[in-house]
Each structure stands twice: as structure tokens, then as C-alpha cells.
Amino acid sequence: MNKNRKSLLILDDDEAVRESFEYHFEDRGWKVKSFSNPQEALKSIEEEPPECAVIDIRLPEMNGDEFIREIYRRNINLICVICTASPEYSIPDDISSFKGVSNKVFIKPVIDFNLLEEELLYILKQNFNSGELNE
């Protein structure tokens, strides 16, 4: 739509979950790209990096943690919120030190999408204020 549209990348191998996020954020004006495969997601990010991402942890070939490390290794400052179905999951220390990664982990099922959206916007705003955003 316009240049102000915030961009979001969904990385989740469960189709229903992926679609639910995709539809919700699209309905709310986000520019959403979704991937089930981390490599494809990486490729897309290389080509056109989005502002935010919702990352699942258990993924084929490469897990969510590794994916985030890979992004930051490539010096891409992506806003990330981790959303996993594993309740026992906790964010590794190195990842939580990344500025764009939210320390709040969303456990699926995400009952209230608004909370997730608020978190994304909150971190986006923080990073924007600190001027470290890619833009």
C-alpha cells in the first residue's frame, strides 16, 4: 500500500499457524511475507530485509535460535519475537543480548494477537528511537 507499511516476516513450519499470523497482520495493514523454510527466509531477508519477524523455534534444518544468530551474524538488525509451542523454552543468553530480539517469548497457542503486535511495535519503537534501525 504505502511506504509506511511495516514489514513482517513469519517463519513457522506449521501452515495453519503461519497463515493465522499472516492473515491477522495483513488485515491490520502489515506487509507480511511468510516462510516455512529458514533458508528461504534467509534468502528473502538478504534480498529485501523486513522490519520485524515472528520466529518459531523448532524448524526443519535450522532452528529458530540458529536462524536469529545467522541474521545477526550478517549484521541485519531485525526485530524478532520468538513464538514457540515449547513451554520450557527459554532464550539463550547470546540471543537475548541482541537489541532487536524481544525477551518475551510467546507460547503457542497465542490467544491474543494484539499482545504480540504490541510487543513488535514496542521493540520497533525502541530500536527506532535508538536509531539503530536499518532504515
Partner: protein
């Protein structure tokens, strides 16, 4: 303590085994089937079977025993003995046939083995090899027969008697002497063979004393036969030892004959010293040869010229007249008157007058006559007359006158008168005096002749007596089987009898010629020396008899012990010993018995010395007679012991102790026993004292006591320790929290500890002796375990047995231990209240349940959450896209399709889509909640703790709960009365704040809901919460209580309330995990405690305790 006991028992077993193995007797034991269970080394040797061969085999096979006489088996089967429960004693009349056929004479005792209950469970046989003993007896028996025949055949009466004179044996001759039967005599005493009223019995008793003292006696005394005939006898008695007992063998000789002779001799000697008048007439003719006397008379008459004649004392002539004148011979004596006058005159002339001859005119013719008496002793036996001479006194006229008077021829008489020899009175007087001397000499000669004759007769008699006596003595010696010897001490000449040689295995001929050297040759040098010493003493009159025991070399080379006895019979003129007579008796057997006795004595002494217990022998005055070395060691301080009073040595006391078993033993005659203290300062602190009385075998009187002293200090100490241990154990038992009840096999209470008293309210005094079911009625259901334990002898356990106490349900573990060891029968019952443990266990089970749920949830949460996310999140988007009028995308899409979104919304609403979507969301949310709660049970290691004030936490939770309920309008929390009873200055506790809040919240929600329910039911009801917080210093915890006055919970619910998925709420109101999660949080995550108490219908109180410090 128990351990020590079992060690002691073990030691005792070892000791017993050692004893069994080391006893000299054979020992076999069997089980009840007659199978051998034990056999000791001696039994192995005798039976020829080895232990490892016989264990388990039949006793009959191994113990093969037959009767000595019948040859039959002694018993057919061992089972007989076992079944009959009898005891069999075989005394040397049995033969054991060993495995290899060897025969042993045995004595044996077979008796049953019994168990504690008295049932026969086998037998024990103890037996002993008596073969040697048996053979010895056989040999002895044949010896005895030999001696017996000697005894019976002896010519002298022989009686065997004991020290008291009781007749033990007599031979036939002895019976004959007395006219008694043997049986009658055996009931008599030797003193009864003397007649009463004489001093014979006294003599006998004196002799007995001498016999006892010196071993030999000889005496003469009166004896009386059964018919009352008294006779003289001589007893020679000598000592014999039989089995250590002194008995006498007396030889009785009838000496009536000897006695008579002796009496006769005495009479004659007496007679000879008395005047002859008292005796019968002795004539001159008997004393002299008359012819010799006639010649003497004739020659005297011729030489002197006088007439002479010897007449009897009455005047009758003995001899023929010599040189008689015609006047007297042919004229006067031819007339009757004249002859009578002549005899009368002659007898007058011979009147005894020791002073001189009688001279007077003849009372017949008136011629001168003279006469002298001949006498023996004072006995006048004859007259010797001379005369018929004339002098101036006679004339022819007086002759003529006398002739006329007597009627003779006057003329012839006158003529004959002239022929008569004239002689002067003086000359005739000389001749008469010579006659007197002559007659006196004749008298003396006659006396000597008679004495001589008497002496000769006496001598002859005595010689005969001596010969008789000698023969009898020889008989006696023969009877006593003694060798004899005669020894001329001066010449060394010796005479031995046959037996002398026989004793040493020779004939007399073999060792002849004999001399003193023969004795020296065969006698042991050592004994010879002793013999010589003793002989010398006898010679020196120090010893009345010579008596010596000596060894002589037998022909076969062994030594024979002989008893050599003798006495000097005659002395030389200068008083040196001349002849000596003696005997040899073979005393080898006695000597060997003595040596054996000495050996066995020294053996006994060794035993006494080797015994590690003290032995002390006391006399009646409690003087110590003998002790062994152990006593000397123990009472070294009192040494020397012998001769002193026991109480001085052993107790340092000045008077007999109390109690004293020895004094009692003297009194009772039985073995007495006491445990007494040892001597002060000695190592022997306590002693066990046995006093065995020593009895006189004859009188039965206790003459002494053997004290058997055992040091039991160790044992006593052990006993004291045991007593202490018992007290200690008893204390323990009483202080134990368990009920401990001891019972006997009949179920009667024998022990009852304090806890049992407390629980039952019955004191131990009341309980002991009662049947268990009476003492503890509620226990009746458990009796089957008690019975089972007693019969099966196995421990019985009944766990978690429920019991109600004051309406409270308690749990008990009941254990019944049978007492099977140490000979105690019965059982011990232990009852433990395990209510607390049971409850804790129940809670632990719950925790385990929760943990497993947590583990499960952790594993599957991801797998559930992903599809659940698909459902829920899609449902969210669906709801958003179908119902959200505000969403621009919805409006835009509706516009593109020329449909009003309102219409779509209305459709959805009318078709209930919205509601259905809401259901999906709600159900999905519940699933998510369950998964999330289940995950709470998973242990988390990295939970973060912070210090919080428990009161603040509780208040926050109360606020939260009131908001929630306000919001949902289910219950108006503000209507609930809230009472806070918080202790001041409660310290902060380490906790995970949100979790603890969750716990409080759960409880508050449950309580509120329950009270709401109650209010709905009752209407008139004021709900209230009471909150209490206080410090539990003991547990180092904070107590937090949340109490409501709701409906309460019943026991069943209360017990399960923390179980996961347990709920009393309707299916849609709660997951059944709230309280269990809370419990988990408190107990597992915070190491706290969580309980619930309730009075149904009144209140419920949740108690949470959280530790003040964090536990790892």
C-alpha cells in the same frame, strides 16, 4: 548383648563337642528314625565305623550287640527303644561286634533323647569297652576257685572276717568244729563263738584290736559249739587286703588235747612236791629190784653178825630173813603167838624217826632188835630190821618162861638161846646206826627214782605234744599256702619247704642245696638291704617280729612280691639269736594292687592338680587337709593352707562363714552348693563352691568334705552385665514408642511395656498373666497372626491395620515375632502407630503422580500446542474476519463484493457462527490451560526466587481474587468477612512470588466457590475467611493458614484433595489441577508443607508452611 549371647552359645556348643569327643566312652546319638546323627572317636574305634560312613545310616547296622550268654541280639530294632521310651543298661553282659568282626565286651547305657517338649527325638548310647576288665575277672574267678578249694580242704578251721568280726566266709572244717551250718555261721560274729561268762570274748576283742593294729594276732581262748560244748582253741589270724579293704583270715585249731596234757603235767609236778601219804600205796618192790635188796640185806647181816629182814610197815616180811637164829626162826616164829608178837615188834621197830634207829628188846623173844624206816618223800613204805643178839639182860629162865607162854618146847628154846650171838650193847648200837644211815640213803634213792620216772614220762608226753603241734602248724601253713624257712643264725644253715621254692617257680630240689645264699641270690638287692635292717632290729629286740616285703626273682624272670615274716625261736647260751623260724607268703597280687592303687592315686593326684578349679579337702573341724595348686595360687596370701581353718585362709574370717555349703554337707550328707565371695583383694571375686561329703564306707558318717571351687568372677561379671543389660533393655523397651507385648505359647501376656499401658490404659501388673485377647480386646482380629507365628515360628506382619481412637482413624503396623531361640517359647508383639507415616506416604504418592504428569506434559506440550495454535489462532482470525466491523479489510472486501458487511455479520450471528467460534476459542483455551498447568508439575531447576513478605503476598492474592470474582459476577467477594490474624514482624521468605500467589489464589477461589454453594443452599449464612500467618520456630518455617467456614470436606475428599484431576466441581468449572498444582508448588518447588484440615459442615483450613531459608 544379643550377639554376645549367641557367641556364648556357640562356645558352649564347641565345648560340648570337645567333651563328647574327648570322653573315654563311646557315644552315638540318633534321630527319631534311628539314623545316626553323631558318633564320637571312641565309638568310631569300637564299632570300626568312621563318622562320615555312618551319619544318616541305621543305628542297628553300626551298633551290633549280642548277649554274652545267649549269643542273641540284645535288641531287635532301635525303633523299639524309641517307641517304648525306655532306658536300657547293659553291664558287661554284652558283646559289641565291630565292623571287622572284632568282639568287645561292653557296658552300655541307652536312653532316649528328648526335645524341649519331652517328645522322643532320638536316642543316645554311651558305652565302654570292658574287655580287659572282663578277662581280668575271668582270671580272678579261676584263681578264686583254686584258693577256695584250698580253703575248703584245709585241716584247720578257717574263718574270714572283717574288722568288726563279722563272719564273711568259713570252711567246712570250721563248721564241723562248731556243729553249725555254714549259713548259720555267716550270720554270726566271731565273738559269738566264745562261751558267755568267760573272759574269752574279751580276749577275742583284745586280739582284734591287736590284729587291726599289727595285722597279725595269735591267742588261745574258750570256744563253744552249737551244742554248748566248750573247747579250747587257738586262733592265728592274719591280715589280707581285698579291694583295699582289710579283712582277717583266722585259723582255728582245737587245742583241747594239748590243754589236757598240759593240765596232767601240771598235776604231777604238783604231786611230786606233796607228801606221798595222800597218794595211793607205793611199794618198795615197785621202786627197787628186790633181789638186789635181798643181797644187800644178806651181805649186811653176814658182815655184822646180826640177823636182818625188810618188812612192810605192818611187819610182814618183804625179804627173806638172813642170818636168823634158830630160836627166832625155828622155835618162836613157828608158833602162832610168837609169830604175831614178832611182826608186831618189827612194825614197832620200823617206826619212822629221822633222828636215828630204834633199839629195843624184841617184844616177842626179848632179844635185842633195832630198825629203821625206808620212805619215799614223806611216805613210809618199808622197815629194815636187824637184831637177835643177846647180852647180860637176857637169861635162860626168861626164855624158858616165854617158851611156855607161847607153847613152844622149853628145852629146845633154852638150848637155842645158848646159840644166840652174844654182843655188847655198844657194838649193836653202832651196827643199828649204820643201818639207819643205810635205810635213809635207800629212801633218798627211791625218791630220786620216782622223780626220774615222772620226769621221763613228762618229757615223753611233751615231746609227743610238740610233734603234734608241729604237725598241726605244718597243716596250717600248708593251708595258708605259705613257704617256711628255718635259719640257724649262727651257722647260716637253712631249711626251706617245698612251697618256699614254689613261690618263685622252682621245686625245692631245683634250688637245693639251700643256704642263706639261696635267699640272697633270689632276692632283690634293694629289698635285701631293707630286710637286713629289719632283721637287725628284731635281733636288737626293737621289733618283736621280723616282717618285710621283698621282691624275689621268679624262674620266669619276673619279680614276685613276698611277705617274709619270722621270729627268733631260740637263743644261744650267751643270749645271741640261734634259731629263727619264718614264713613266705606270695603277696604279688596284693602288692600289684597296691602299686596299681598308688598309680591310680598319683593319676588322681595329677588329675586334681591339672583341674583348673580349686580343690580343697576339709576335715570335720574345717581344717584344710589337702589342696591343689590352683587353690595355692588363688590363696597365695594365706599360704600355707594345709592345717589351717578354711575360713581363715579363704575368707579371712575368724569364724565359719554364713552361708557355708560345707557345714551343710556335714549335716545333710548331700552335696551342697553356694555362690560366695572370693577373698578380699584377690583376682577371684566370686566363686562357685560345691561341697561333696566324704563318707565313711562303714558307718556312713561324713568324715570330711571335698570343696570344689570354681572361679566364676567372669561369669558373675557377665551375669551382672547381663542384669545391667536387662535393665537397660527393659528401659529401652519401656521408652520405645511402640507397644511391645510378650506372650507365652498359650497367649498369656508376659511382657507389657509403658506404651502398651498408655494405649490400653491397663497397667503391666494388670495385663501380665491375662490372655492377650482379654488384655487387648480390639486385638482379637490379629490373634490369627499370633497363632500363625507361634505354630509356624515365622515372623508375621500385618501392616496399616486401621484402628479408631476417639473417632480418629489411626493406622498400626503389627509384627509378631516368634521366640524360638534360647529356649524361650512364645512371641513378642510389636504394634507401631504409623498413622503419620501412612499420611506422608499418601502425600508422597500424590507428589509422584504429579511429577509423572509433569514429565508427561513437558514431553507432549509442544506437540499439543502446535496444532492447538493452528486451531485457536485460525479461529481468532476467522472470528476477526467474520465479525470485526471495524476491520478495514473486511469492509473493503465486502465492498468489492457488493455486500454489506452488516449483512454478513447478521448472517453469522443468526447462524450462530459467532457463538460457535467462541466455543472453539474457549475449549481451545481450556486445553492450553490444562497443558500449562500440567507443565507446572515438571521440575524446574532455574526458577527464580526472591524474598517476599508472606503477608503482602497473601493480601495481593486476596485483591486479585476479589477482582476476578467481581468481574465475573459469580460471587461477590466483598460479602465475605475477612479476618486477618497476622503475627507481627514476620520475616521475608525466599519464594517464587507468582507461584505462591497462584497457590493462594487457587485456595481463595475454591473457598469462595464452596461458600457460595453453601450460601445458595442455606441462604442465611455469613461466609468468612480467617487468614493466619505466624512463625513456626521449631520447623524454621512460616505458617500460613487460610480457613473458610464453608461446607467443609469429608474424609474421603480430604484425602484425595491434592490428587491431580480430582475435582468436586461440575465438569466445566475447573480442571481438577488447581490444588494439586498448589500442593506441588509448595512441597516440591518450595520444600514446604501443605495440609488441609476440615470439620465437615463447619470449616476447612488450608495450612501452608514455607521454609525461612531456601533448601537446595
Amino acid at each position: 548383648m544379643e550377639k554376645n549371647n549367641s557367641n556364648q552359645t556357640e562356645n558352649m556348643d564347641i565345648d560340648l563337642n570337645n567333651i563328647i569327643n574327648s570322653i573315654g566312652d563311646g557315644l552315638i546319638t540318633t534321630d527319631e528314625n534311628g539314623k545316626i546323627t553323631n558318633i564320637n572317636p571312641v565309638a568310631e574305634k569300637l564299632t570300626g565305623w568312621k563318622k562320615n560312613e555312618v551319619l544318616g545310616t541305621s543305628f542297628d547296622k553300626v551298633f551290633n550287640v549280642i548277649h554274652t550268654e545267649t549269643g542273641q541280639k540284645v535288641f531287635n530294632s532301635i525303633k523299639e527303644i524309641i517307641s517304648k521310651n525306655i532306658r536300657i543298661t547293659l553291664s558287661e553282659n554284652a558283646i559289641l561286634i565291630s565292623k571287622n568282626g572284632k568282639r568287645y565286651y561292653i557296658s552300655a547305657s541307652i536312653s532316649n533323647l528328648k526335645d524341649d517338649k519331652g517328645n522322643v527325638n532320638g536316642i543316645v548310647v554311651i558305652f565302654r569297652d570292658v574287655t580287659d576288665k572282663h578277662e581280668m575277672r575271668e582270671k580272678l574267678s579261676s584263681n578264686e576257685k583254686f584258693y577256695h578249694s584250698l580253703f575248703e580242704q584245709s585241716a584247720s578251721g578257717i574263718v574270714v572276717h572283717d574288722e568288726k568280726g563279722n563272719i564273711l566266709e568259713v570252711n567246712n572244717r570250721f563248721c564241723d568244729l562248731f556243729g553249725y551250718t555254714k549259713e548259720e555261721l555267716l550270720k554270726l560274729n566271731v565273738f559269738q563263738t566264745h562261751p558267755p561268762g568267760f573272759d574269752a570274748e574279751k580276749k577275742g576283742r583284745q586280739a582284734m584290736e591287736q590284729f587291726k593294729k599289727e595285722g597279725y594276732t595269735r591267742f588261745e581262748a574258750k570256744f563253744i559249739t552249737k551244742d554248748g560244748v566248750i573247747f579250747d582253741g587257738e586262733i592265728t589270724s592274719s591280715r589280707i587286703y581285698i579291694k583295699d579293704k582289710m579283712i582277717g583270715q583266722a585259723v582255728l585249731r582245737d587245742i583241747t588235747e594239748k590243754k589236757r596234757i598240759e593240765e596232767a603235767l601240771d598235776k604231777r609236778i604238783y604231786a611230786l612236791s606233796q607228801p606221798f601219804e595222800q597218794k595211793e600205796q607205793i611199794t618198795l618192790q615197785e621202786l627197787f629190784n628186790i633181789e638186789e635188796i635181798q643181797r644187800l640185806q644178806d651181805e649186811f647181816a653176814q658182815a655184822t653178825g646180826v640177823a636182818s629182814i625188810i618188812t612192810n610197815i605192818d611187819g610182814t616180811p618183804i625179804t627173806k630173813p638172813s642170818n636168823f637164829c634158830r630160836l627166832c626162826n625155828d622155835i618162836i616164829r613157828k608158833t602162832e603167838k610168837g609169830r604175831i608178837n614178832c611182826y608186831r615188834s618189827d612194825s614197832m621197830l620200823g617206826k619212822f624217826d629221822p633222828k636215828g634207829p630204834t633199839i629195843q628188846p624184841c617184844m616177842s623173844g626179848g632179844l635185842w632188835d633195832a630198825g629203821a624206816a625206808i620212805s619215799v618223800g614223806n611216805k613210809h613204805i618199808a622197815n629194815w630190821l636187824i637184831g637177835q643178839v643177846r647180852d647180860d639182860t637176857q637169861n635162860e629162865d626168861s626164855i624158858r618162861e616165854y617158851a611156855r607162854e607161847i607153847g613152844a618146847d622149853e628145852e629146845a628154846a633154852a638150848k637155842a638161846f645158848q646159840e644166840v650171838t652174844p654182843m655188847s650193847r655198844e657194838k649193836f648200837g653202832h651196827i643199828a646206826k649204820a643201818l639207819h644211815t643205810f635205810a635213809n640213803q635207800l629212801s633218798t634213792t627211791a625218791y630220786q627214782n620216782i622223780s626220774q620216772a615222772h620226769f621221763i614220762i613228762q618229757l615223753k608226753k611233751a615231746e609227743k605234744d610238740l610233734a603234734d603241734q608241729k604237725e598241726r602248724l605244718a597243716n596250717i601253713l600248708e593251708g595258708t599256702n605259705a613257704g617256711t624257712w628255718e635259719w640257724n643264725v649262727q651257722t647260716g644253715e637253712t631249711i626251706f619247704n617245698e612251697r618256699w621254692a614254689q613261690i618263685i617257680g622252682y621245686t625245692l630240689e631245683e634250688i637245693s642245696p639251700v643256704s642263706l645264699d639261696t635267699w640272697i641270690k633270689y632276692t632283690h638287692p634293694d629289698d635285701l638291704k631293707i630286710s637286713n635292717d629289719l632283721l637287725q632290729k628284731h635281733f636288737d629286740n626293737e621289733l618283736e617280729y621280723y616282717e618285710c616285703e621283698a621282691r624275689m626273682k621268679h624262674k620266669d624272670g619276673h619279680w614276685v612280691w613276698i611277705l617274709d615274716r619270722g621270729k627268733i625261736a631260740t637263743l644261744t647260751e650267751d643270749g645271741k639269736p640261734l634259731k629263727m623260724f619264718g614264713t613266705h607268703q606270695d603277696i604279688t597280687e596284693r602288692k600289684q594292687a597296691e602299686i596299681e592303687l598308688q598309680k591310680s592315686e598319683s593319676f588322681l593326684l595329677n588329675i586334681i592338680e591339672s583341674i583348673q578349679d580349686g580343690i580343697s579337702v576339709l576335715d570335720e573341724e574345717l581344717n584344710i587337709k589337702r589342696v591343689n595348686s590352683i587353690m595355692e595360687k588363688w590363696y597365695e596370701a594365706s599360704m600355707p593352707l594345709v592345717g589351717k581353718k578354711c575360713y581363715i585362709c579363704y575368707q579371712s574370717s575368724s569364724k565359719p562363714c554364713e552361708p557355708c555349703p560345707t557345714l551343710r554337707a556335714f549335716k545333710s550328707g548331700n552335696t551342697e552348693f553356694n555362690i560366695v565371695k572370693g577373698l578380699e583383694g584377690s583376682t577371684v571375686k566370686w566363686i562357685e563352691l560345691f561341697s561333696y561329703p566324704i563318707k565313711d564306707s562303714e558307718t556312713g558318717k561324713v568324715t570330711g568334705v571335698v570343696e570344689f571351687v570354681r572361679d566364676i568372677s567372669e561369669r558373675k561379671k557377665a551375669e551382672d552385665d547381663l542384669q545391667k543389660a536387662r535393665n537397660y533393655i527393659s528401659n529401652i523397651i519401656n521408652s520405645m514408642p511402640s507397644l511391645l507385648i510378650g506372650i507365652d505359647p498359650d497367649g498369656i501376656v508376659t511382657q507389657w511395656n509403658l506404651e502398651a499401658e498408655r494405649v490400653t490404659g491397663l497397667s503391666s501388673n494388670e495385663a501380665i498373666g491375662q490372655p492377650l485377647e482379654k488384655a487387648m480386646p480390639y486385638f482379637i482380629d490379629e490373634m490369627k497372626y499370633v497363632k500363625k507365628a507361634l505354630t509356624k515360628r515365622e515372623k508375621q506382619i500385618d501392616t496399616r491395620r486401621p484402628r479408631f481412637e476417639n473417632g480418629d482413624r489411626r493406622f498400626e503396623d503389627v509384627t509378631v515375632y516368634p521366640l524360638v531361640e534360647n529356649g524361650i517359647d512364645g512371641a513378642v508383639i510389636r504394634i507401631d502407630d504409623v498413622t503419620d507415616r501412612v499420611r506422608i506416604e499418601e502425600m508422597m504418592v500424590q507428589s509422584e503422580k504429579m511429577l509423572s504428569i509433569g514429565g508427561l506434559a513437558a514431553g507432549m506440550a509442544h506437540e499439543i500446542n502446535n496444532p492447538l495454535a493452528g486451531i485457536l489462532q485460525i479461529a481468532n482470525v476467522l472470528s476477526d474476519r467474520l465479525t470485526n466491523k471495524e476491520l478495514p479489510a473486511n469492509q473493503r472486501t465486502a465492498k468489492e463484493l457488493d455486500i454489506s458487511f452488516d449483512v454478513i455479520f447478521s448472517f453469522m450471528e443468526k447462524r450462530g457462527i459467532l457463538k460457535m467460534l467462541e466455543h472453539i476459542r474457549k475449549s481451545g483455551k481450556r486445553v492450553a490451560e490444562i497443558v500449562s498447568n500440567m507443565l507446572s508439575f515438571a521440575r524446574k531447576s532455574d526458577t527464580t526466587y526472591s524474598f517476599c513478605n508472606p503477608a503482602e503476598l497473601l493480601d495481593k492474592s486476596i485483591d486479585l481474587a476479589s477482582n476476578e470474582y467481581d468481574l465475573k459476577k459469580k460471587f461477590d467477594f466483598r460479602q465475605i468477612k475477612l479476618i486477618r490474624e497476622y503475627q507481627r514482624n514476620i520475616p521475608e521468605i525466599p519464594c517464587e512470588e507468582s507461584k505462591i500467589q497462584q497457590v493462594f489464589f487457587n485456595i481463595l477461589r475454591n473457598g469462595a466457590e464452596a461458600m457460595q454453594q453453601k450460601k445458595e443452599e442455606l441462604g442465611n449464612y455469613e461466609p468468612e475467611f480467617i487468614f493466619r500467618i505466624n512463625l513456626n520456630k521449631d520447623k524454621n518455617m512460616i505458617n500460613i493458614e487460610i480457613e473458610d467456614n464453608g461446607p467443609g470436606i469429608d474424609d474421603v475428599t480430604r484425602k484425595r484433595i491434592f490428587e491431580p484431576f480430582f475435582t468436586t466441581k461440575p465438569i466445566d468449572k475447573g480442571t481438577g489441577l488447581g490444588l494439586s498444582v498448589s500442593y506441588f508448588i509448595v512441597t516440591e518447588n518450595h520444600s514446604g508443607e501443605m495440609n488441609v484440615e476440615s470439620i465437615p459442615g463447619k470449616k476447612t483450613n488450608f495450612i501452608i508452611r514455607l521454609p525461612l531459608t531456601r533448601k537446595k
